[in-house]
């Protein structure tokens, strides 16, 4: 059957509008995308930090802290709220056995050996823990070392009688020299 005129309706341009819209949308999307990418790049460029100076600063800080770490090794443990006496004539303390006398008690490497009441009591047995500890530490000093040194970190507010009992015990144990920890005074 031959085709009739009704089979070929006239071209309706309005029917193509959705297609045109779709094309526009795609192009809009592309334009928007380009703009977005450009803006992002611009933003990235504007917020990029110069990290080199920051790295320089960190490196200098690390070198300073590492070099001061060497002197930290010579430091004595001054915990337990010990208020050190001040002195002008002082030198860095040598590494060695350290004993800390605070108003609360006697400590060695953060381990409490005695309460301060035991030191102040007249009973010689009250200080047996300290005697044992000092004897053990003395054995650790090489025999060729003539000076048997003890680093004493004591609070300046303590009565001297308390410190003297510890010093006397150290002398009786066999120590010959004391390094009395102080805070340098200008």
């Amino acid at each position: 059957m031959p085709a009739s005129k009704a089979d070929f309706p006239p071209w309706d341009w309005k029917a193509d509008v959705p297609l045109k819209k779709a094309r526009l949308r795609i192009s809009d999307y592309r334009d928007n995308r380009k703009a977005l990418v450009n803006n992002t790049e611009r933003k990235i460029r504007s917020v990029s930090l110069s990290l080199t100076s920051m790295v320089d600063m960190f490196a200098i800080l690390v070198i300073f802290l590492l070099s001061s770490q060497d002197s930290v090794n010579h430091m004595l443990d001054t915990g337990h709220a010990v208020q050190l006496p001040k002195a002008k004539t002082s030198a860095p303390p040598p590494q060695g056995i350290a004993l800390e006398i605070s108003p609360a008690g006697i400590y060695a490497h953060s381990e409490k050996l005695l309460a301060i009441e035991n030191v102040q009591s007249q009973d010689p047995k009250a200080m047996s823990a300290l005697t044992t500890w000092l004897s053990k530490q003395l054995q650790l000093i090489p025999a060729e070392e003539t000076a048997k040194r003890l680093n004493l970190v004591a609070d300046e507010r303590l009565p001297y009688g308390t410190v003297r009992r510890v010093v006397a015990l150290a002398r009786r144990t066999g120590f010959t020299e004391l390094n009395l920890a102080v805070e340098p005074r200008p």
Binding site: V72, M75, K86, Y160, P184
Partner: protein, 147 residues
Amino acid sequence: MSGDSGEKLNIELNLVPFIDLLSSLVLFLLLTAVWVQVSAINSQIQKKGAASAAKREDEQLSIRLTQAGFELSWPTALTGDEYPAVIPKSNNAFDYPALQSRLKQGMAKMPSLSASVNADDEVDYGAVIRTIDAGKQSGLPTVGLEG
């Protein structure tokens, strides 16, 4: 620098992990650092009473801190008003400048002068340390602590 394709080669280093590492290291070092500077005064331990017994032989000065002030026991070679037996407290505090000047006088006459320090039980340990410090500042070669 350009390759065959003509595109520029990006040679920028990625510094972010390096900064992370450095900042961690700085934090660790700051936390482990000890900020209180500690020094020490070297002192010989002397037997209590040994100083006074040996002073004539050893030319040793004995300094005792009491509630009244400094009690000084000079060697026999150092006698006179320049070498007082007592330096009283000034304004209820130990007179360190006066002690230091007397020690300097003693050192001028007897360069081999050494000292031993002792104190009453009630005297603060800080005062004993300041006395040893005054002795060292005066030039005494040895300042012992009686124990």
